[in-house]
């Protein structure tokens, strides 16, 4: 069973294009998807899943199950960075630990989308409101990361990673802007709201958006994963810098967080598809919103640490191995609805 899931995942177009990108770097091809085309794909994917999620949310409404799931998701995005911070700080110092912790508390929209596309392949249904959970999990972890770094610094525990300017108070306006008004978070939430409004007030608009947001989606995802393969493989060259401890963390963290996610999903009584998505949200780490936010709010953290772990290790792990693995767990522990 499990090996079938793995194969179904490995032989899907998005994952194959991801491998093609990795292969290009490994073999030394000069294939490149020049900037800002990856940004076009990433803006498109955020707009499209936001809009679709909003449409589905408007159909399902905000029932107690929806609200409970979203609350649990936000809780995860607070607990994961706090616990990760304490695990990482002894080795990395407060700044680096805070930044890596923020990355793992936050989410990866592309991993989520790949999981949705995997659920389509294995024909397991899932609910649209999970996109709302996705949208609301990006920001809290960023705030937690900055707060942890500042608290540690203010206790006059200088981090080995360099001066952390800790005596200054937390620059709340900047932190909140980076957390909640970050371009990708803002576009995702904005599209979610627009999708909801359009579905409610002018349903014919949803139909007119479909060729764009639905039909193209799979192809653009393949294109973007090709680029993600290129970028992730380039990151692997930096692995020497990260050291074995962070490599182990980058593989262990998603498994542990997915497992916690599974327990919560079970507690909430989520159906199989939603449970997988909840696990993937818990397991994935951010390389979009978080690096940009950390660069400005925890500038003395080393970007190559949090980008390499989140994008070079955890992302490929989740996309290639994690998703089918979590699905196997779901099939074992979550009853069919």
């Amino acid at each position: 069973m499990q090996s079938t899931l793995v194969l179904q995942n490995l032989l899907s177009a998005p994952v194959l294009f991801f491998f093609l990108g990795i292969l290009a770097v490994v073999l030394g091809s000069d294939l490149e998807i020049p900037s800002p085309l990856p940004k076009l794909f990433s803006l498109y994917l955020l707009l499209a899943i936001g809009f679709k999620g909003g449409v589905e949310l408007s159909h399902s409404g905000l029932g107690s199950m929806v609200l409970l799931t979203i609350a649990a998701a936000i809780l995860m995005s607070l607990l994961v960075p706090i616990s990760s911070f304490y695990i990482l700080r002894p080795r990395l110092g407060a700044d680096n630990a805070a930044a890596v912790a923020a990355a793992y508390g936050s989410i990866s929209a592309v991993t989520f989308i790949t999981a949705q596309s995997f659920l389509n392949v294995v024909k397991v249904p899932y609910d649209g409101f999970m996109v709302a959970a996705l949208a609301l999990m990006e920001s809290p972890a960023i705030v937690v990361g900055v707060v942890m770094a500042k608290l540690a610094a203010s206790r006059l525990e200088p981090s080995p990673g360099g001066p952390s300017g800790g005596k200054e108070p937390i620059p709340w306006p900047e932190v909140l802007r980076e957390a909640f008004l970050n371009g990708s978070v803002f576009l995702l939430i904005g599209s979610l709201v627009i999708g909801g409004l359009v579905a409610y007030f002018s349903p014919s608009g949803v139909e007119r958006m479909e060729p764009f947001t639905e039909k193209l989606f799979y192809g653009v995802l393949c294109f973007f994963l090709l680029d993600m393969g290129l970028v992730a493989a380039q990151r692997l060259r930096d692995l020497r810098q990260t050291g074995p401890f962070l490599v182990a963390f980058a593989i262990a963290a998603p498994i542990v967080h997915a497992f916690i996610g599974l327990l919560i999903a079970r507690l909430l009584g989520l159906p199989q598809g939603d449970a997988l998505l909840f696990m993937v949200l818990s397991a994935s780490a951010s390389y979009i919103a978080v690096p940009a936010a950390m660069r400005m709010t925890v500038p003395h953290a080393n970007p190559s640490l949090y980008i390499t772990t989140a994008l070079g290790l955890t992302f490929p792990f989740n996309v290639v191995v994690g998703i089918p693995l979590y699905m196997a767990l779901v099939q074992r522990f979550i009853p069919v609805a």
Partner: protein
């Protein structure tokens, strides 16, 4: 007249330009999408999709007297967020 070249992260452009205006420089030019290598290692355009961006090259031509003011406002930024600056001689065309 002096020419000052800054290389900073694209995310610091706005802060840097504000500081330059504050220092009373008569103008500046900004080139984005600059990649490079320095103390902080290699900066590529690969993370551009994430909003992290690459580096920017900011050029300021100003009077020699303005350099001190510029150093006053810009050096703290370079120290806090990284980046480098260089000065050379120039004259109006």
């Amino acid at each position: 007249m002096k020419r000052v070249d800054f290389f900073v992260s694209e995310r610091e452009i706005e802060r840097l330009c504000k500081a330059i205006r504050q220092a009373g420089a008569p103008g500046y030019s900004v080139m984005r999408h600059v990649t490079g290598w320095g103390v902080a290692g290699e900066i590529s355009e690969a993370m551009d999709f994430s909003g992290l961006g690459a580096n920017a090259h900011v050029v300021v031509f100003c009077d020699a007297d303005a350099i001190a003011a510029l150093q006053g406002v810009v050096r703290p930024l370079l120290e806090r967020f990284g980046g480098v600056g260089f000065v050379s001689e120039a004259e109006k065309f």
